[in-house]
Amino acid sequence: MKVSMTVNGQQRTDEVEPRLLLAHYLREVCGLKATNIGCDTTSCGACTVVVDGLTVKSCTVLAAQADGAQVTTLEGLAGPDGELHPVQRAFREEHGLQCGFCTPGMVMAAIGVLADNPDPSDREVREGLEGNLCRCTGYHNIVRAVRTAAQAGPTAGQVPQAQEVQA
């Protein structure tokens, strides 16, 4: 079947199998490999992307379900001049990543948390990230990074192309 969607601002149409998962569509068809797959049970959040302003686990969405949608992945966050998104910047400053495998999903989920709550407490950040697992950081610096990003103001909870993100 044919699906069309806007991925990181670019409109595209592809012929896919109905069972193709959005995560595999992004990785294999679009060649956007930042989005990772860490589980089979919608548990880890490594595959989190933003679809029509909402964070979703792309391993549990069919590409066909995202037909017509606006999709943003980690690759779509930085500005054209390479300027980092406030959440990306904060993850670097606070050492919010180690091996980096959870990071693309974690960054997208963090944007979702901030969209929902622009100034979350530690506890609220932890609850907002409950669907994202990290084996390396013990979450400590991830929580700090999200709180640091919050200080950048409302842009921290938004993805580019004026797509609103809500949690």
């Binding site: 089979d40 049970t41 880890c44 180690q98 091996c99 980096g100 932890r126 084996r135």
Partner: protein, 760 residues
């Protein structure tokens, strides 16, 4: 001011944060064009005679290029265990032949054009197994009634040490014995295992795979396949976590290379999480019996630890884990008598390997629980019992009764720092108040002290290689034999070179994990990287400066002794002659300015520390929640606090997870109960607090950096602190011990039992 000891943010991150790292499954490489996908078919039965594997339907499925069963792989010699003590009858075949020995044992492999076709076809392979009783626990195994390898005549893979002498505890006023479980856990690096292989026209194979050390992985794969190592080129892309489970190679990686040869096309494999949770090595898995004896004044006189190590179905590193546990049995304590003994036992489960700490957390858990049991028995504050028995501060090496020689340590100071930072007295007062009020949420305070061994000789030596080259454009390249999977080597190694040469960190590229470029290396494991790999980089920089001085002396017509490093210009200047000098970059113009070196550590180092955990236990439901974790971790001199703290945080989380949550479970038939992340309770952000870190740095004389390992310390210290805290929270209700993980049901039941016993 030196860059060392400062919080330099990671040079790897901009790429990781904008485009993502490049893990094995992400690779785009011409050599992998048209790659086939391998899908392993695994046994669904824990133990049984393998009657037949029928792949005929799978061979007809769309996209299937080939299906291999044991019959099709007879030219592959069995996989050597790599450990001298393993009985030859216990060696693993590539594909299960006569028997299947765990759920996850490989019975066939399918090659397909597309990834999705592999799963479809694998479903069609029909495997006929005549089930045998499964050996699931070490107790079952030790009975030797059902044997995994009948030819071996026993399930015992190895045995270490002797029983304690009969009079070992004679004369002690108090002796406490406890059976305890250091449960099997799954390492779960977020990146599962993955490999890709392509053969070139020159008869060489390039293998990309996720691992903790390319050189060791290459050596193992070449050995298993009977290939001349010169024909194997192994490349480690970015690695999404390892935690010990990615040390060396796994048979699947070698298989991928072999399949590529058979098919005449490149082959890729990335396992699913469900496959990972049965196929990748598990960690821990010890059943322990501790006995601790001493006087009512708190002095401990004798301590014994007897271990049954669950090794899983086939011998891997798990066999030797108890030797590390035994070596570290005496821990931070000055016990006059220490006894340790162990057996390594086969079970119909996933093989056990190294997992963050590997053998040392098990030793610490045993002794720290023992101290608390002893303290409870004599009614003394556990902090006091510890203080009474800790090895006093020492600066000359200290040798323990279990045979370890510690380099430097100040255990009492570490404990006191932790207690002070935690506000121990006030915590105890709050605990008393809650006990008196009979609150639903009771407070538990748990302590641990630990010492662990890092940078031990892994069998490949305690040495590491480094190459350092300064280029004419002012940049530099470091080649290192260690290889990161999140630790931040690229930043730390650049800092070490920059510190001596003055070249900015951003201009230093660190390369690792390519065996053609870096033939020698020990990888990243056992918290060895900085103290050996980092020390090698440090040494390379020192040597490079000497080479540069010789060269500069000629060019500047100066005495080499008058030349000194000028960090601002990243070069050399002539003492007493202002303005005279030359940069390292200039010195590299005519001929390459490069040194290769090898740093050899004289001995391992012994980081130590003390943790205080504060938990709340809902005594009506039994649920424990960690409120605080205060940690003193002394790993000697710190090169980059940002990175060191990150290592500690990650270690804490995994340690806490073992105490509270995580456990790999099998049913009585050996069926895994935790083979997805929906079932395996991987710790998430909501079960953890932000951690409270206390700094302490006692340098080691073992290496020029003064650094010890920090990778595993957090895990080792946190598990027993949290475990002790949970039990402490319900101690006033009569509970003395609850096995890990301290699940709500276990804690609730322990309270019920203690109260019943109390009323009798």
């Amino acid at each position: 001011m030196s860059i060392l000891g400062t919080r330099v943010v990671r040079t790897e991150d901009p790429l990781f944060l904008t485009r993502g790292a490049t893990y094995t499954d992400d690779l785009v490489d011409d050599r992998l064009t048209g790659a086939l996908h391998a899908t392993f078919v695994r046994s669904q039965v824990a133990h049984g005679r393998l009657l037949s594997v029928d792949a005929s339907a799978a061979r007809e499925a769309p996209g299937v290029v080939a299906v291999f069963t044991a019959e099709d792989c007879t030219d592959l010699a069995p996989i050597p265990a790599g450990l001298p003590m393993v009985p030859p009858a216990m060696i693993r075949p590539w594909l299960a032949t006569d028997a299947v020995r765990f759920v996850g044992d490989i019975v066939a492999v399918v090659l397909t054009e597309e990834r999705y076709q592999g799963e479809d076809a694998a479903e069609l392979v029909s495997v006929d197994v005549d089930p045998l009783p499964a050996v699931v626990t070490t107790a079952d195994s030790a009975r030797d009634e059902v044997l995994l390898f009948p030819e071996a005549g026993t399930n015992v893979m190895a045995a270490f040490g002797e029983p304690a002498p009969e009079d070992f505890f004679v004369g002690c006023e108090v002796v406490v014995t406890q059976r305890m479980v250091n449960q099997r856990v799954a390492p779960v690096p977020l990146e599962t295992r993955a490999a890709a292989a392509a053969w070139g026209e020159d008869g060489r194979v390039t293998i990309w795979c996720t691992n903790q050390g390319a050189q060791q992985a290459k050596g193992e794969i070449a050995g298993w396949l009977g290939l001349d190592p010169a024909r194997v080129h192994l490349v480690t892309p970015d690695v999404g976590g390892g935690f010990g489970a990615k040390i060396g190679a796994d048979p699947e990686y070698a298989f991928v290379a072999w399949l590529a040869q058979q098919a005449g096309r490149p082959v890729r494999w990335t396992e699913s999480r469900s496959e990972n949770l049965v196929g990748m090595l598990h960690g821990r898995g010890q059943d322990q019996v501790v006995t601790i004896g001493g006087r009512r004044d708190g002095t401990i006189e004798a301590y014994s630890l007897v271990v049954d190590q669950d090794c899983g179905a086939y011998p891997r590193v798990g066999i030797i884990l108890p030797t590390l546990t035994m070596l570290m049995a005496a821990a931070t304590y000055a016990f006059p008598k220490v006894h340790a003994q162990a057996r390594a036992l086969a079970t119909n489960t996933t093989s056990i390997g190294a997992y963050r700490g590997a053998g040392r957390p098990e030793a610490t858990a045993a002794v720290e629980r023992s101290i608390d049991l002893f303290a409870a028995e004599i009614g003394m504050d556990p902090a006091e019992v510890r203080r009474k028995n800790l090895v006093p501060a020492f600066s000359e090496p200290h040798t323990t009764p279990s045979g370890a020689t510690y380099d430097s340590g100040e255990y009492v100071a570490a404990l006191d720092k932790a207690l002070e930072a935690a506000g121990y007295a006030e915590l105890r007062a709050e605990q008393t108040r809650r006990r008196e009020r009979g609150d639903v949420r009771q407070l538990g305070i748990g302590l641990s002290t630990y010492v662990e061994i890092t940078g031990a000789d892994t069998g490949l030596g305690a040495a590491e290689s480094a190459e350092l080259e300064v280029h004419p454009d002012g940049t530099a390249t470091v080649l290192t034999g260690t290889s990161p999977h999140g630790q931040g080597h690229a930043t730390a190694w650049a800092m070490l070179a920059s510190d001596q040469l003055g070249i900015p960190v951003e201009k230093i590229t660190v390369l690792h994990g390519d065996t053609d470029r870096i033939p020698r290396g020990g990888g990243t494991m056992g918290s060895r990287s900085l103290q050996q790999g980092g020390a090698a980089v440090h040494q390379a920089a020192t040597e490079l400066i000497e080479v540069a001085k010789q060269r500069a002396a000629e060019q500047l017509e100066a005495d080499p002794a008058d030349l000194q490093v000028d960090l601002t210009s990243a070069g050399l200047s002539v003492r007493g002659t202002p303005g005279a000098g030359i940069t390292f970059a200039q010195l590299a113009e005519k001929e390459p300015l490069v040194v290769q070196t090898r740093f050899e550590a004289a001995a391992p180092t012994f980081p130590f520390g003390a943790h205080v955990a504060v938990v709340e236990v809902d005594v009506e439901s039994g649920k424990a929640e960690l409120q605080r974790l205060v940690a003193v971790d002394d790993a000697g001199v710190i090169v980059n606090p940002l990175l060191a703290e990150g290592q500690r945080h990650g270690g804490f989380a995994q340690g806490v997870a073992q105490a509270l949550l995580e456990e790999v479970l099998y049913d009585a038939d050996g069926n895994p109960q935790t083979s997805t992340l929906a079932d395996y309770p991987f710790v998430s952000a909501t079960e953890l607090p932000s951690f409270e870190l206390v700094d302490m740095a006692t340098p080691t004389p073992i290496n020029p950096l003064g650094a010890k390992g920090i990778g595993e310390a957090g895990t080792i210290g946190s598990t027993p602190a949290v475990h002790n805290a949970v039990i402490d929270a319900v101690a006033h209700l009569g509970v003395r011990h609850v096995d890990m993980p301290t699940t709500p049901m276990r804690v609730w039941r322990a309270i019920q039992q203690a109260q019943q016993e109390g009323t009798h």
